[in-house]
């Protein structure tokens, strides 16, 4: 009956999949939703998840929709055996250098330090950032 390998718990069958308008007013609600999900998933370092998601979404708001109407940011999160995976995706113009950027490029380096692994996939139809965080098992 119990066929879980080596007595490990099966990952909770939960999945977060929500969309927000790509505006700064969405950030607080996004952070709270992801933080609550990370807690249910058993992630040790919830603040890291919250900050990394905020950085990814801020990048999308500032860069992906510069000079065009704001689109949407989709956040998807799911628990794996050892990790929480969070995907932040937008339907903007892709990741491009922005000479008039209001920041000094802290966002992506911060994400790199806060995640166990992250991948960026970006083209002119949008950007998809996958971030992975260790869970406590």
């Amino acid at each position: 009956m119990n066929d879980a390998p080596r007595g490990r718990r099966a990952p909770p069958p939960e999945r977060l999949h929500r969309r927000w308008p790509a505006v700064s007013e969405s950030l607080g609600s996004m952070r709270r939703a992801v933080r609550a999900f990370a807690a249910r998933c058993g992630v040790r370092d919830e603040p890291a998840v919250t900050l990394a998601v905020s950085e990814a979404a801020t990048n999308a708001i500032v860069h992906a929709f510069a000079g065009r109407d704001a689109g949407e940011i989709a956040v998807e999160a799911y628990c794996e055996q050892d990790h929480l995976c969070v995907i932040v995706a937008d339907d903007g113009a892709g990741m491009k250098p922005r000479p008039d950027s209001p920041g000094i490029g802290l966002g992506l380096p911060l994400i790199a330090r806060l995640t166990d692994k992250f991948e960026v996939d970006s083209d002119d139809r949008g950007t998809r950032l996958l971030m992975r965080f260790n869970r406590v098992l």
Binding site: L27, G28, P47, S54, G103, I104, P109, L110
Partner: protein, 123 residues
Amino acid sequence: VCQIQEINTDPRYRVLVLHGEIDLRSAPALRGRLLRAAQSDAEAIVVDLGNTTFIDSSGLNILFSIRRRLEENGSQLALVADDPSLLRTLQLTGLDRLVPIERTLGQALAHLDAAETAPAAGR
């Protein structure tokens, strides 16, 4: 949402206490408030993050830029922070190597006082 409260404890220092979350939404108000404070003739600005529940690069960008502006004018920035997550964020971006960070407002003010008297004592 971030609320900004100013405390006047010492005419040499401007103390701004930030309550709540600092992100892209609250950054413009914070930038304006800190820029105004930086234009005063205060010897230092203390930004108290003791009641701040979240800060991301939008807020950190402002702190970096205010710190540079103050330094150019011969004054300085000091921070108060105690929350481990918040301290980690300050450390990951290297701000802790540029700006003194103390755990309480009293310690930050004492640090500024000590920095002010130290050069005179050495002469």
